[in-house]
């Protein structure tokens, strides 16, 4: 360990990275605790890979500071930093056997052939690839190549492992298996993992700390549960996908509850903590998709006048196993999604085209920061919302 310490805490302070005129990362600060599994999550071009590469030492920040375990590392090589990177395409050396791929960095350090092969075999055993030691990378499947890449990155005993979209080249089945595997390895080794991904489910499945990014900035950095259940901004709410974003004008404030009405007359109410919003100001909120109940609107249009409900027409019904995703179309604006428990749904099944009334409770409404339309455009690049 050239750095002399095993502390894998990462502190990014005011880092900006420009490529020509374009800022890939602007004035970003983030602390990742030692031994954490951190996911950098965002659509392509949000700067998440640039951050990873700056931590890894493959890119130098234009301004700002990066510390690992308290030491400033800008200008140091990856080995001096005690980091190792697993590349998106795995970057296995095509002219070397699996064993020599894994042993490569030990070879550079002048370890004897017997010694480096012994250690490489040990790591290959850890990722259950010892049987393939003598093969060339082209003779392996994607999942096997990934295990070899993992073993190669771990052989230097790094304090931080950086993974650049490690699962994106795998098929669905392997992806699910490998993400569990990565989490297991991280716990076992007790080192910091930083994992870049554009897949929401992947991030919340593995990470202790999820960092949602957009356009070179951090939108929210929090635990997976918090990101999912308590998004800070409309962007995060939309990007994570478990929420419906509502916006409107504050109509009244009473009993520490604000009532907000949107342009179609639908309204929602929410508890107001702290600063009381001014009447007539804009307010953005979100409500979880799985906290919405849907029923057929039987001619009672008046029901939609009620707070925390809206009328619409069923646009799509997608069966998801444990729940049914019902998309409700409103006259204008974005679709409103309700995830209805399967037992509830099949008690009174709906059909596409049905007029329905969606209702929720005021305590499931969250107030969000920032503009109401944040993230609407970028959702398309992100490949839509998953949940």
């Amino acid at each position: 360990m050239p750095s002399g310490t095993r502390n894998g805490e990462i502190r990014i302070v005011g880092v900006t990275k420009r490529f020509g005129d374009m800022a890939a990362v602007s004035d970003l600060s983030l602390t990742i605790p030692d031994k954490a599994y951190c996911c950098l999550l965002g659509p392509s071009g949000c700067g998440k890979t640039t951050i990873l590469r700056m931590i890894a030492g493959h890119e130098t920040p234009t301004t700002g500071e990066i510390r690992i375990g308290g030491e400033p590392v800008v200008g140091l090589t990856p080995v001096q930093r005690g980091t190792a990177m697993m590349f998106q395409s795995y970057a296995l050396f095509p002219h070397r056997s699996v064993l020599d791929n894994v042993a490569f960095s030990l070879k550079l350090r002048g370890a004897s052939k017997a010694e480096r092969h012994r250690q490489a075999r040990e790591l290959l055993a850890k990722v259950r690839m010892e049987r393939f030691a003598d093969r060339l990378p082209v003779q392996l499947s994607g999942g096997q190549q990934q295990r070899v890449a993992l073993a190669r990155a771990l052989i230097t005993n790094p304090r931080v492992l950086l993974l650049d979209e490690p699962l994106s080249a795998l098929d669905e089945y392997l992806r699910l298996r490998m993400r569990g595997e990565l989490r297991r390895v991280q716990k076992e080794l007790g080192i910091t993992f930083i994992h870049v991904t554009h897949t929401q489910l992947e991030a919340i499945a593995v990470a202790d700390l999820v960092v949602v990014m957009a356009q070179g900035r951090i939108e929210q950095a929090a635990s997976a549960r918090e990101i999912f259940t308590a998004p800070r901004t409309a962007y995060v709410a939309r990007f994570m996908g478990g929420q419906n974003v509502l916006s409107g004008t504050v109509e009244s404030v009473a009993d520490e509850h604000a009532i907000v009405v949107d342009e179609h007359g639908a309204s929602f109410s929410t508890a107001v903590i702290g600063e009381v919003p001014v009447r007539g100001s804009r307010l953005v909120g979100s409500v979880r998709r799985d906290r919405i109940s849907v029923s057929k609107a039987q001619g009672c249009a008046a029901a939609s006048d009620k707070v925390n409900s809206l009328l619409g027409e069923v646009h799509a019904i997608e069966y998801q196993g444990s729940y049914v995703k019902v998309t409700i179309e409103r006259p204008t604006g974005e679709g409103f999604v309700a995830n209805v428990l399967d037992v509830d749904f099949f008690r009174g099944p709906l059909d596409i085209g049905d007029s329905v009334l969606a209702r929720w409770s005021a305590r499931d409404v969250l107030i969000l920061e920032g503009a109401a339309d944040a993230g609407e455009a970028s959702m398309d690049e992100a490949g839509g919302v998953l949940i």
Partner: protein
């Protein structure tokens, strides 16, 4: 039903097979046959004798010619490899945009827009006794009298060969280098490799197929040449093929044919030696 795909594959190989048989197989057969003929007074006698081969192997000139040709081949190979590898390396790893890469690559081919002979002959006024180079040196006060070794010497032969053949080294090396995934270099850096180890552990081994192909081009071209040697050495040096061409102009076809067969055998050995060291098949398939 089964015969049809078979027929289709035969049809697919037919054109290239036909060309190989007509323009390579048959002529070779003729040359082999003629190499066993007897000759005299400008006539050929269809016999089956080994005299032509015996004469070649018992003559001391043969060895001298082969050594001279091999010497040129080796020196030119080394120089073109050095220059070609560096040009390819520069184009692939230092030129950042594709447009510049293509532009500079085309620039390398500009000399090829004129004929070989003109390109070679243009060295003569440059390297000659009162040529541009000597005049420049004298004008600058570096030398007081013209350098004699510049023209009509082995030096001139090598300069011309290098000028003519370097591109044959650049192209295949460029090809295999351009295919090296940049993330491999980053992965090596990540593992702790400095510039020299990245070069020796990653770039060089992954350029091997290109080096092998380029080496085959250059070595066979030099081994098969007589015109450059004759012109640039002013007749002082000779190559295997210059002896062969002398025999042809003297209408001594059988010894020329025997000489050609030996040359083919030796060049084939050299090429198969290279192929044994480097597996170029993956380059050709990919």
């Amino acid at each position: 039903m089964k015969a049809l795909p078979r027929l289709a594959s035969w049809l697919q190989v037919a054109p290239v097979a036909l060309i190989l048989v007509l323009f390579f197989g048959l002529p070779m057969l003729v040359v082999v046959t003629v190499s066993f003929f007897d000759y005299g007074q400008g006539r050929l006698y269809p016999t089956f004798i080994f005299d032509n081969y015996v004469e070649i192997f018992s003559s001391s000139v043969t060895l001298r010619l082969y050594l001279s040709s091999l010497k040129f081949a080796l020196i030119v190979w080394a120089v073109t490899l050095l220059i070609g590898f560096n040009i390819a390396y520069f184009l692939v790893f230092h030129v950042r945009t594709l447009l510049w890469q293509i532009g500079l690559f085309l620039l390398c081919t500009v000399p090829f827009w004129t004929s070989n002979i003109i390109r070679m002959i243009s060295w003569i006024p440059f390297l000659g006794r009162n040529g541009i180079f000597n005049q420049t040196l004298e004008g600058a006060g570096i030398t007081s009298q013209p350098l004699e070794f510049l023209l009509f010497s082995d030096f001139a032969v090598i300069v011309a060969y290098v000028h003519l053949f370097t591109l044959f080294m650049v192209v295949p090396i460029f090809n295999s280098m351009a295919r090296i995934d940049r993330s491999l270099i980053e992965a090596a850096y990540d593992a702790g490799a400095g510039p020299w180890r990245i070069f020796s552990e990653i770039i060089l081994p992954l350029s091997k197929t290109g080096i092998a192909l380029g080496s085959i081009f250059v070595i066979t071209l030099v081994m098969g040449d007589f015109f450059v040697v004759k012109t640039m050495s002013g007749g002082q040096s000779a190559s295997v093929v210059s002896a062969l061409s002398n025999e042809i102009s003297a209408i001594q076809y059988p010894p020329a044919a025997a000489n050609a067969m030996i040359l083919v055998a030796i060049v084939t050995l050299m090429v198969s030696g290279i192929l044994r060291l480097v597996d170029i098949r993956k380059e050709l398939i990919a």
